[in-house]
């Protein structure tokens, strides 16, 4: 079996910023355990001499000239924001301090 247990999923959920209930953690752990088990074989065929491919079609030096283009207006920028104030995106406090 793989290393994915409830604690591992809790850590991953924390890294991914997804709150999960105990039930969800347990269910997810079970599902991922099966999935990871079934895809583990990839590490067995990946020999050291094989280069990694990160892009299916190799291109390089794709650049943009340093010329200013069209920007959004402040209204457009904020149009989808859940909350805003003073032309800026408003977010809850960053630190928890009572």
């Amino acid at each position: 079996m793989s290393e994915i247990n409830r604690e591992a999923v809790a850590h991953l959920a924390h890294l991914a910023h997804i709150e999960m209930t105990e039930d969800e953690l347990a269910k997810m752990a079970g599902e991922l355990d099966v999935i990871v088990d079934s895809i583990k074989s990839v590490s067995e065929v990946a020999g050291e001499d094989i280069p990694a491919t990160s892009h299916p079609i190799p291109l390089f030096n794709v650049f943009r000239e340093d010329v200013v283009g069209q920007t959004l207006t402040n209204e457009e920028a904020l149009s989808g924001a859940p909350d805003n104030a003073a032309g800026r995106f408003k977010v809850p406090a960053i630190l928890d301090e009572e």
């Binding site: 924390h14 190799p58 920007t71 959004l72 920028a77 904020l78 995106f89």
Partner: protein
């Protein structure tokens, strides 16, 4: 709100008796390209919030990055100026962490293969000794947006009720310059720290690739400090102090951390590897809250960008664009200006060489420029505990004051009062002179009356002058200046006295 606890420190001398400091720096340089690193939004400071943004800067669904060629070239120029090797091929990577100023919740950066690596910088300390700092790497990345914390204590994250995010800075091109561990600086570590950051700032400014204004965050420094007992090979645990954003602060922060580390080690405790925040007001660091994702950024190759491949031709073309290196430039400027070694060193150490160059370019003589920057401006800087460049005196203002002195409208003493007025926002020098009634008494009539009175009051001195002892004229000048409450042009007074007595000056 948490209570701020001041950490124990040992005196710097005691710390140095037992320990060797090891330093390391991560300096972030904002490039002054027209557009951002991965989007064609303008790279401009100080505009209305969230106006210099495209969907890319806001991390909108569906957007893709495209690399700014000029930013790549500026990065290579920085690498070359730091004597680095330039990567034949390098890639971008995603550094993943959640923070509201980071619109994609990852920063597009470089990880395994930076554009520049293995360089060095020779740092000249105040007494002329040269210390080589080795550069590990310089890599390209993007800046985050700006958070403003509202409610609670003014502008602080602690105790804030909510925060506001402006993404105008989001995506501004950055080059992060990372040193190798710097060993052997001993008690000169704080001085070296300041000199290193000053050198990097000077280089990027000289290259023209950054506005290099620390007060605006164009150059930002994170300083790593660790201590180890004399004779020990192994490095101690380090702290990383962030938010060290002036040269003076770099020096002070390194000094403080050395003293704090020493106190912790002396008390038999262990240094915690952590981020520290520098506070200019208390001149101390405090422990930063550990970032939740700090231990796992889950870097992986940026799939939306393709590699940057450099050719020798491209690099040589860029190398040919390199301006005169700062050290050579200093030699040339000293010769041009005719300063003595001591004078020039003082100018460099005071951090006013560029200001003097600009002042001379604006029309002042080398001597006048030095007089102002090393005299009045430095005095005010010291009083206010800021850098001379932060006093608010521009080269143009100095040229203007000098012009007014040369024209006999004001004298040196009045010029200082004019400067007070200008810095207090009372208007142009001319306006301040007018408003404060500071013009020198230039009507010879009242002056002659005062001269006659002074000569009559000191007839023996008048005789001496008539007899050829011209240097005695000072006593009469003094009397006249006293009588006119300083508002006379001393030079003109002297002329008139000699004229009155029929003596050649």
């Amino acid at each position: 709100m948490s209570v701020h606890i001041q950490d124990e420190t040992l005196s710097f001398e005691e710390a140095m008796e037992k320990y060797d400091p090891v330093l390391g720096f991560e300096v972030h340089v904002e490039l002054n390209t027209n557009t951002k690193m991965f989007s064609d939004a303008p790279n401009v400071f100080g505009d209305e919030p969230n106006t210099n943004v495209t969907p890319v800067c806001l991390g909108m669904p569906g957007v893709l990055p495209v690399v700014n060629k000029t930013a790549v070239e500026y990065s290579i120029l920085i690498g070359l100026a730091l004597n680095c090797k330039i990567a034949e091929s390098c890639t971008f990577a995603r550094k993943q962490y959640f923070y509201p100023d980071t619109p994609k919740n990852f920063q597009t950066s470089q990880y395994e293969d930076p554009i520049a690596y293995d360089g060095y910088l020779d740092i000249e300390l105040e007494d002329g000794t040269v210390f080589r700092v080795e550069i590990e790497r310089a890599h390209m990345e993007e800046d985050a947006g700006k958070l403003t914390h509202m409610g609670g204590a003014a502008g602080r994250i602690q105790g804030a009720d909510f925060s506001l995010v402006d993404y105008n800075r989001s995506g501004v091109p950055l080059v992060e310059i990372v040193t190798k561990p710097i060993e052997g600086a001993g008690s000169r570590a704080p001085e070296l720290a300041k000199a290193y950051v000053a050198a990097v700032r000077e280089i990027v400014k000289n290259l023209g690739v950054s506005d290099a204004k620390m007060e605006r965050g164009n150059v930002r420094c994170d300083a790593n400090v660790s201590l180890r007992p004399h004779g020990q090979e192994k490095f101690g645990t380090r702290s990383e102090t962030k938010n060290v954003n002036s040269l003076r602060a770099v020096e002070r922060a390194v000094r403080f951390e050395i003293q704090r580390h020493a106190a912790v080690l002396e008390s038999g405790n262990k240094i915690v590897q952590e981020t520290r925040h520098w506070h200019e007001d208390t001149r101390s660091t405090t422990s930063g809250r550990p970032k939740s994702d700090a231990d796992d950024y889950r870097y992986f190759p940026e799939p939306d960008l393709v590699p940057v491949v450099t050719t020798p031709e491209w690099i040589e073309e860029l190398r040919s664009r390199l301006p005169e290196p700062p050290a050579e430039r200093r030699k040339r400027l000293q010769a041009d200006w005719g300063y003595s070694d001591a004078e020039f060193r003082d100018v460099v150490n005071a951090g006013v060489m560029d200001s003097i160059e600009e002042t001379i370019a604006a029309g002042a003589s080398a001597q006048v420029a030095r007089k102002w920057w090393m005299g009045e401006v430095s005095r005010r800087a010291k009083e206010a505990e800021v850098e001379p460049t932060e006093v608010g005196v521009s080269p143009a203002l100095i040229v203007e004051l000098d012009r007014l002195i040369q024209a006999g409208k004001i004298n040196d003493k009045l010029a200082r009062q004019v400067l007070d007025g200008v810095l207090a926002g009372e208007g142009t020098p001319e306006e301040v002179i007018e408003a404060r009634g500071l013009a020198v008494v230039s009507d010879d009539g009242p002056l002659l009356e005062a001269i006659d009175a002074a000569l009559a009051a000191q007839p023996d001195v008048a005789d001496k002058i008539r007899g050829g002892k011209v240097q005695a004229v000072g006593a009469i000048v003094g009397g006249v200046m006293k009588a006119t409450r300083g508002q006379a042009d001393a030079g003109r007074v002297r002329e008139l006295i000699l004229e009155r007595l029929g003596v050649q000056g």
